[in-house]
């Protein structure tokens, strides 16, 4: 159920992300080349997301559809069955397949700004209000006992918009990309949120 994977919405996203980056560009360099490069990195990420969603849909179609009044047992079985299929299909997946190195660099740069200053300190407080030291791993189930960290709006505004099947989350200081239907971590950016002292600089 990708809502906006058409070329048209992709183009809008490209423009929006370009504008978003422009407003966040603290270096104040009128560097269209750099902005275009950023937009290109984000667009490439969305292409990889589209490819993953195609896989997700193919795998989900192999499972019996959940009835509208599904029981918790049916929901759980469906989720775990999908997780097994996803993990099997991505058994060779490695860190950086989706969050490629160039995108990671952008994310680190953005997060350094987003988590600096008084508002950044506030955002850090909300993200870490129930901290759990967890090191994310690809193709692993999101730990059942770890609460979901709040995602600040300004972070979600900057990150490329995801289809309904996927979400960004912070786990400790790490940014993860999660398949919410399968409850599986697909990729991560380690230490996306910089240490408080580094962000304050």
């Amino acid at each position: 159920m990708i809502k906006r994977s058409t070329a048209f919405t992709g183009a809008i996203l490209l423009i929006a992300s370009t504008l978003a980056l422009g407003s966040e560009n603290v270096d104040a360099q009128p560097a269209p080349k750099r902005v275009n490069a950023t937009a290109a990195v984000q667009a490439a990420f969305l292409k990889r997301i589209d490819a993953y969603i195609a896989l997700h849909k193919r795998l989900e179609a192999m499972l019996p559809a959940l009835p509208k009044d599904a029981t918790p047992l049916q929901i759980d079985q469906n989720q775990r069955a999908l997780a097994d299929l996803v993990i099997q299909a991505r058994k060779d997946a490695k860190p950086g397949d989706l969050f490629t190195p160039d995108l990671r660099r952008l994310i680190h740069r953005f997060m350094a700004r987003a988590f600096s200053g008084p508002r950044g300190a506030q955002a850090r407080k909300y993200v870490h209000d129930e901290p759990h030291a967890v090191m994310p791993d690809i193709n692993k189930r999101y730990p059942d006992t770890v609460p979901l960290a709040t995602m600040p709006l300004r972070v979600l505004e900057w990150l490329p918009k995801l289809p309904d099947e996927l979400e960004y989350r912070f786990v400790d200081n790490h940014l993860i990309l999660m398949d919410v239907h399968a409850h599986v971590i697909l990729d991560y950016v380690r230490n996306a949120i910089p240490p408080a002292t580094a962000a304050a600089r």
Partner: protein, 302 residues
Amino acid sequence: MGWLRASAISRVLGCAMLIVALGHFALAAQQGATTTVAGLSLPTRRDSLKFAVFGDFGDGTQREFDTVAQLVKAHTVFPFEIVPLTGDNLYGSERPQDFAKKFEQPFKPLLDAGVKFYGALGNHDAREQRYYKLFNMDGKLYYSYKAPKQSVRFFALETGYMDPEQVKWIEDQLKSSSDDWKVAYFHHPLYSSGKTHGSDLDLRRVLEPLFIKYNVSVVFQGHDHLYERILPQNGIYYWVIGSGGRFREADLDKASPITAKGYDADNAFLLAEIDGDMMTFNAVSRRGQVVDSGTIRRRAAK
């Protein structure tokens, strides 16, 4: 002499029995106060909307069960039809048996009576809860619904993932609603005097202007494990109702300037009744005592 001694002894015994009996009576009266909902002051009018608000509860502990038992008792005298949930509906693992133990079993009398629960997701809730039929979320992370009575619409938000799409959705929904009462509820509080979490200023910056602009009258929130009624903020009444099962004793900042009434001595939930322009409310503790009550008027449309 022997008779006199026996008579005196019997008198002493009689007095002792009377004292014991009175003691039992006093104890029974005391226990009675802790096992029934005492002093509810709700109009319970025929065509009013009666509802309860419950939050931060599903941990499967005796505290949760005791608090839910009070909610069940309250329903016998105050037959609420719906229960908006302010999130953290299930703590820890969410296996099928957890839904049974932490929700279906304790709430069974209410479910059997046809009471409908409407979930909002907290940070401890898996996203799949939106598919759970008894939370009536219809597969959505955020949604709105019209109350079965009165001109009231509820808006359930997912404050853990407030993305631009959801911000646009809530604005559109509030804008298009012509209901007299607009009631929003969600997990992370815009206003709270809880020492553990407190107010989420980032969320406040985003949501409060919309609530003001589109005439929201009441907001229910959770996350901090206590009960708090906030002094009206820009004409809007906010509550923190986050001690349905989880509880943090003495977590309320007593020096907070925004508290109208706080209760952090035990678990609590809210009962409320909307009739026309007025909403009457009672907050009830795990021991069945009314710890806060009052009546408010809805915000007038501009």
